[in-house]
Symmetry: C2
Subunit: 231 residues, 2 copies
């Protein structure tokens, strides 16, 4: 029976790739843009490195916890919606049966087959709730291990991404050289990460690489422009 | 027929709340932790304000674009999976029919009713793909306007959240006073935002408020500690 592992594989890969994409894209662009912006405002690479590491620590923890809280919120949301569906089944049984019929008519069911399906679903309360959650609300039962995996993936991806633009500022005291090398290495990283993202999500890697470079570059340029204007 | 608007209402509210929660929680904690960390490393509030604004601009754009790309990736993922299901229906028809039967047996269908449901679903190719996407893969057809709404919600929430901890550093030149006021106002904002999050997601507002303050405070404290150690 290949159905269940099939489902799990799809889900887990998509969610982890999505988390890593979000974490990496912010880790590559935010510390990069911050360092570039400060390059115009301060005279020492020490301040830039300190600010960069403070940002990486704060960003990784905030994004990791943000991912953790979002996953927890999803789980709580699922539970409260399932409880509400259960109450509706207990107290508005006829109305909920009409809802199942409406949903199944959308798939071309009529007459006796419709009646037997509705009968089969509505004989088991748990099964009925599961059916309404999936079909009416489009909600999957969340995986309890998901919240922690999501937190670690987002936080770790943010740290890895954030080190790329900062390393040049640690290697030299010359701010302009560091900025130049940071632009080149971050640009390369955005291309690689975009291609990987395309590969994992079934989009053309070349198209995805240049799209990621374009948006990452635009975000950094806009942030640099604002910081420069304020300095 | 209340079914369709019912679905839309649930989805839109959940997705926007989730986006706003992610944007606000990062906007409140990252610029706050960065400003607090720099308070230990520099002697002028000007550098802190410049770094803070550079971070807000970079973070809002990166998170907004991150949200936009993630939603676009979801849409492309849906399309490529739907194309694959279509191919499987065309070339492995018997295998796909066995998959529908397996899924429906999970809801208690057997014998003739099962046969008529499978017959009804498999007569229309589009309906069959939609059924497999929802049931086998748990994927909803993404809303095309979702990507832009998500980008604006996350970016806007980040800017609003980020201004809260930075305002005290703009109001005074005294770094310690600014840090003190920033801790108080950001703490208050985390409580309010946590309570609002609880209200929207059906969790107890008081529990959600203190949970958000706790994790926001921990994230900021850890980032502050690292920045302090590096300075």
């Amino acid at each position: 029976m290949p159905t269940t592992p099939h489902i799990e594989k799809h889900f887990t890969a998509t969610a982890i790739v999505r988390d890593a994409v979000i974490g990496m894209s912010d880790g590559l662009t935010v510390p990069f843009a911050l360092a570039a912006g400060l390059s115009a405002a301060v005279s020492s690479t020490d301040v830039i490195v300190t600010a960069g590491f403070a940002e990486i620590a704060a960003g990784a923890i905030a994004m990791g916890l943000g991912g953790f809280l979002a996953a927890k919120t999803d789980a709580q949301h699922y539970e409260s919606e399932a409880a509400r569906e259960g109450k509706e089944i207990d107290h508005m049984r006829e109305h909920e049966i009409l809802e199942i019929e409406l949903l199944l008519r959308g798939y071309g069911l009529e007459g006796d087959p419709l009646k037997s399906v509705v009968g089969a679903i509505s004989t088991d309360r748990e099964r009925w709730i599961d059916f309404m959650m999936r079909f009416e609300l489009g909600l999957e039962k969340p995986d309890p291990r998901r919240a922690l995996t999501s937190a670690i993936t987002i936080g770790g991806a943010y740290v890895l991404g954030g080190l790329v633009p900062l390393l040049p500022y640690m290697a030299t005291e010359n701010i302009r050289s560091a900025l130049f090398v940071s632009v080149l290495t971050t640009g390369g990283a955005l291309l690689c990460f975009g291609a990987a993202k395309g590969h994992f999500t079934g989009v053309s890697p070349i198209k995805a690489a240049f799209q990621t470079l374009l948006v990452g570059g635009l975000a950094a340029a806009a942030a640099f422009g604002l910081a420069h204007a304020l300095a």
